[in-house]
Symmetry: C2
Subunit: 309 residues, 2 copies
């Protein structure tokens, strides 16, 4: 603009938080959804699945945070290519906006191999780093008009196209589908499915006793034989012939796929990168939300699928 | 726009968190500052003081959250009038952007009178509500390019015009000036100053012992004779003839005036609305930041002034 042109006054925006609703029928109410993905590796299947979501894309904003690693650079380039393609493609597929953050902290683990990631001694540092990445992404992208936040890991490659509507219809503060994985069952010589994510659980007396005896910075981890917690794992509750709409109350949640009412985060619920009631990251998030009087739920028979490395 | 016009692709934004710096010389580096104010009452002196800040206004964004009360409505109208005036006035005084949020929760206290606010039995509910208001404001307005967050209460009516530069020059994660109040000293028949904010303190063995004996949801409060903590209060450290640049390490901070590097918040540091190590709100924030390895500091001899009701 020329310097002698009258300049528009800078933006002043007023928001009535009352008008930012969360309802069972978010599409009808034009509620906006922010999909947040920490992304270390890019899978085309993840992006294709995202594009198939039937929630109106003009009500969806995307946010990514990518680590400052060689692998992160590759993921960044691949993501950019797809974003550019989608955002200049058919209007009905375009998302309202896309924000891509590059992390400024080093990754505490050299290797992203599943075997390395899941080693128990590596878990605390890794999950603290993940928690900080999630917080950075959340604090930076949550806006005044966001109604829902859908956390979706970059290796979730298959969901129902109606995922958002299906989860929102339960009208609860925090809700997680059951995260499974497709694989080839060598014994039975056929394609099969198996449980993947153990972070969705109901607490147990054993876990509480373990926690009570721990040092203040120690954390409980789920899914390790060395530390049996006897928590009830949602992964184990899947019942093929059960009620597809079954819903259970959870004490810990995973972030692989998780729908959260934005007001839960706005009240202050974040992902503790430190031991919070001996819990960390997404499991600590469920506990923190609970301290803010928000409840978490899970859908044992509603599946989403994790990539099989 | 006509429906057959080619439509611009929706925004895709890329941010390198590395490039969002915090330095001793933020003006030279064009670092953006987000000034956040929970506002229940509007004081013209607060606004006039804000306008006098010499930090370039085009690098400053403002964010307000206003309660859903009669008093809040009045404050909202008064604020709007001033915002409109400033944002359509001389360019050098205009702020980069202004966001005004109206809270959707009821105020737990009926009366905003100082005597009511400061009653000990009212403190926990009141400070939990304040913490949630601060979190809502923070989560909603912090953007990807924000370098600094300046928390400034609506009843801070006098600071140095160089406040931001002065505090940033210390190059520490969290820093609080000393919050005083002007009053008429009846005894000495002259205008005088006295301490106001007791939330900036260094921890004490007594406070730690008190905390150790408390129920898990109980909180320690500062400035109440019923509960002497023997913490070292920054308010009491003011020394008129001391080093004006003196800096002390703090364990608890107030939010009346507080400069925070945005990365501290991005890591997840928020204002706990629940007992966090028996601390709540801004004092809990300092503790949480500490758990995230960020330190808090105070300037005993650098004063800002609170309104005298
Ligand atoms: N920003 C960021 N994302 C990461 C990092 N490590 C993993 N991720 C992503 O975070 C999500 C969860 O990590 P993942 O390794 O799949 O966890 P797992 O499935 O529980 O083993 C995935 O979307 C990863 O791509 C990291 O260091 N930074
Ligand atoms: N949004 C919001 N702001 C509030 C509320 N109560 C007080 N405030 C503001 O929060 C700040 C701190 O509150 P104040 O009552 O001054 O605290 P005190 O000085 O410690 O007694 C001031 O800027 C108030 O205007 C509330 O319920 N909601
Ligand atoms: Mn994964
Ligand atoms: Mn005040």
């Amino acid at each position: 603009a020329k310097s002698n042109e009258p300049q528009a006054a800078p933006p002043v925006v007023h928001y009535y938080m009352n008008n930012v609703t969360n309802s069972r029928t978010p599409v009808e109410n034009s509620e906006t959804v922010l999909i947040l993905t920490p992304l270390a590796r890019f899978y085309q299947e993840y992006w294709d699945n995202l594009l198939k979501l039937s929630y109106p894309h003009d009500l969806i904003s995307l946010g990514f945070i990518i680590p400052k690693t060689k692998e992160g650079n590759l993921a960044y380039t691949a993501l950019q290519t797809q974003v550019t393609k989608t955002q200049s493609g058919p209007k009905s597929k375009r998302f309202a906006s896309v924000t891509i953050l590059r992390q400024d902290t080093e990754n505490p683990l050299q290797s992203q191999l599943e075997s390395e990631r899941h080693k128990m001694e590596n878990q605390k540092a890794r999950r603290a780093a993940m928690a900080k990445a999630r917080n950075s992404l959340l604090f930076t992208t949550l806006g005044p008009t966001t109604s829902w936040v859908l956390w979706m890991d970059a290796d979730i490659i298959e969901t129902q196209p109606t995922l958002i509507q299906d989860l929102a219809a339960y009208d609860v503060p925090i809700i997680a589908p059951n995260c499974f994985q497709r694989y080839y069952n060598e014994e039975e010589k056929r394609n099969d499915i198996r449980e993947y994510d153990y972070n969705n659980w109901i607490d147990s007396p054993t876990a509480k006793e373990l926690a009570a005896k721990m040092g203040k910075d120690d954390i409980l981890l789920e899914g390790y034989a060395e530390m049996p917690t006897y928590r009830s794992l949602m992964a184990k509750m899947y019942d093929k012939s059960g009620d597809p709409g079954a819903k259970v109350k959870l004490d810990g949640v995973g972030g692989a796929t998780l729908l959260v009412k934005a007001e839960v985060h706005r009240d202050g619920a974040m992902f503790p990168p430190f031991a919070f009631y001996h819990l960390i990251e997404t499991e600590g998030f469920a506990k923190m939300a609970n301290r803010l009087n928000w409840e978490s739920f899970g859908l044992p028979n509603y599946l989403v699928y994790h990539y099989n490395e």
